[in-house]
């Protein structure tokens, strides 16, 4: 069976969930060969193997942390040459997409970004994409070279499928461009203790209707009662009420949870682009004409400061 390279997104050896989804999807196309780079790379092997990696290629060097993107492109190119895979898959993170794109140019291959599903077709992998703010679903494939595809988080449920994968050292020689962009400093983002926005099963988002940073605890309290992540519209982010990392939409995160609750959000096209594919959508908005109500499974026309706290209390009571 052909091998498929899978780029492992990890933080100091802890594999992030989108990679587990990617390994699961990769098995539809071939045998996953994981590539993990940087500090803790070898520590990812056990998890990668649990989700089906038959081999885990690892490399660690200061260049991976000290310079932007290109050292990792060099490593992926080395892995590509060593494995001669049927496809190369990346998580659709900012970095994943950039590595993928540069690799594609180097190996003379086409690239598809932001796939939401992947299957094996007669002429190679077929990627499903959600386009025009999720108004359309397309199926595409790559016609030149080895398919390079980036896949969005939450595109598949991770399924364990233990394989032999053990860490093997990958030989990487860095290109002249590798040290072009220096990372002068890096500050890790503080954890809020809440689930990650793109990985959460439930997301509760607040918009301009929340009215101020001091009111966001109303949204957070509902999120915490449901074990949900907190999102925000761009209007709320631009106003400085909530961090940009929590923005949902075209220029923020795309989320596709089981349940999305929008409070005080009108439902502009750019916001919908980031949440339209959620399974169940609920909204609280005092304007009955707000476009968000076109999307909802259940909507309450009313003041969020009345409805949301009552809902939070009721959730707590029901959960006992």
């Amino acid at each position: 069976m052909a091998e498929v390279l899978v780029y492992v997104d990890h933080v100091d050896g802890a594999v992030r969930k989108p990679t587990l989804e990617l390994l699961t999807l990769a098995r539809r196309i071939g045998e996953p060969v994981a590539v993990a780079l940087g500090a803790g790379a070898a520590d990812t092997a056990a998890t990668a193997a649990e989700y089906g990696a038959v081999r885990v290629l690892t490399a660690d060097a200061p260049e991976f942390a000290d310079y932007l993107v290109v050292p990792k492109v060099d490593a992926l190119q080395a892995a590509y040459q060593a494995v001669n895979p049927a496809a190369v898959l990346f998580p659709s993170s900012a970095e994943g997409k950039e590595i993928a794109a540069r690799l594609a140019v180097r190996i003379g291959s086409g690239i598809i970004t932001d796939a939401v599903d992947l299957e094996q077709g007669a002429e190679g992998p077929v990627a499903t994409q959600s386009v025009f703010a999720a108004a359309y679903t397309t199926k595409s494939r790559i016609t030149k070279g080895t398919p390079v595809i980036t896949v969005k988080p939450n595109s598949a449920a991770p399924e364990a499928a233990p394989a032999a994968g053990a860490a093997e050292a990958l030989e990487v020689s860095f290109s002249e461009q590798a040290t072009g962009t220096k990372v002068v400093s890096r500050a890790a983002r503080e954890s809020t203790g809440r689930p990650d926005l793109t990985e959460a099963a439930i997301v509760v988002s607040g918009g301009r209707g929340v009215g101020g940073a001091e009111n966001f605890p109303v949204v957070e309290a509902l999120a915490d009662s449901l074990g949900a992540a907190v999102g925000a519209s761009r209007a709320a982010v631009d106003a400085g009420w909530y961090p940009h990392t929590n923005q949902v939409g075209q220029t923020g995160k795309t989320v596709s949870p089981q349940l999305y609750i929008a409070a005080g959000i009108s439902g502009a096209i750019q916001h919908r682009a980031g949440m339209q594919t959620s399974k169940t959508i609920v909204a609280v908005n005092k304007d009955a004409e707000a476009p968000i109500f076109d999307l909802v499974d259940y909507g309450v026309v009313g003041d969020l400061f009345e409805v949301v706290p009552q809902l939070t209390e009721e959730v707590k009571t029901r959960k006992g």
């Binding site: 025009f132 494939r141 790559i142 072009g180 220096k182 029901r318």
Partner: protein, 265 residues
């Protein structure tokens, strides 16, 4: 020393319009209005600020806006010129129809080289394709550093510096010019063209190039030679109408009952 800035801007269909596919599964541009991609306005804005800073230090700076696109794409160039860019380059050729990211990046790279540059500034992503990969590809093709997805950017003594807010960390980056930069919509509100700016833009030079001006063969670009192929496109079925209630004091409880019914509680 003069700083030569090239800003890559894309002419895109209005996202609030009814976007759909043409028969050949490329974007149908006939029924929907186009405009300068809003995300590229941020790139123009940062170029203007960098140039202004440069001139304050008694250096010269010149901003060229560059687009690859159909005839109407000139509108996007005009808008950027009226914001304050100095001149424009429009690459237009019938053979470009259906070109994908790798093809477009080839055209942009050749056009940037022909224009001459110290700094290329792009938007974070186009609002139609939303790939967000072109700046990285451009840097790869040009063989210069990529300093991408910046929410803050400055140029000083031949060095570009910026802040990149990633998923798990915030990074401060630095590279020597020439370089390719992309900026996010967090980099600062873009200015509106003034009346004076709009009038001045009418007199600014717009150069048109076709593929032969860039030594690119028709076979290297276009739909037929794209590296990717769309085999099908389906409109997402409209969501079935949900239940909408008016809060009369029990809205939160009704919502809880719905969520419990769906097994979320």
């Amino acid at each position: 020393m003069s700083l030569r800035i090239v800003v890559c801007v894309k002419y895109v269909p209005d996202a609030t319009g009814d976007r759909h596919f043409a028969e050949d599964l490329t974007l149908d541009r006939d029924d929907v209005d186009g405009l300068l991609s809003e995300l590229d306005e941020y790139a123009v804005e940062q170029a203007l600020q960098i140039a202004e800073e440069c001139r304050r230090g008694d250096d010269e700076a010149e901003i060229t806006v560059l687009t690859v696109g159909p005839e109407d794409a000139k509108d996007a160039l005009r808008k950027a010129l009226s914001m304050g860019a100095d001149k424009a380059v429009h690459v237009e050729d019938d053979d470009l129809h259906g070109t994908d990211a790798l093809g477009t990046s080839l055209v942009l790279a050749r056009a940037v080289e022909k224009t001459g540059y110290d700094l290329v500034i792009c938007g974070m992503a186009s609002t139609d394709g939303t790939m967000g990969v072109l700046p990285a590809i451009l840097a790869e093709r040009l063989g210069v550093p990529q300093v991408t997805l910046l929410s803050e950017v400055s140029v000083e003594d031949g060095t570009v510096k910026g802040r990149r807010d990633g998923d798990t960390a915030t990074e401060h980056l630095e590279a020597a010019l020439p370089a390719v930069v992309s900026v996010t919509d967090q980099s600062g509100e873009a200015r509106y063209p003034s009346f004076k700016g709009i009038m001045a833009a009418k007199k600014k030079p717009v150069t048109s190039w076709d593929l032969s001006d860039l030594d690119i063969e028709a076979e290297e670009v276009g739909l037929e030679s794209a590296w990717t192929k769309v085999d099908g496109a389906e409109e997402r079925p409209a969501r079935t109408a949900g239940t909408i209630v008016k809060d009369e004091g029990e809205g939160g409880k009704q919502l809880a009952a719905f969520l419990a019914g769906q097994k979320f509680i």
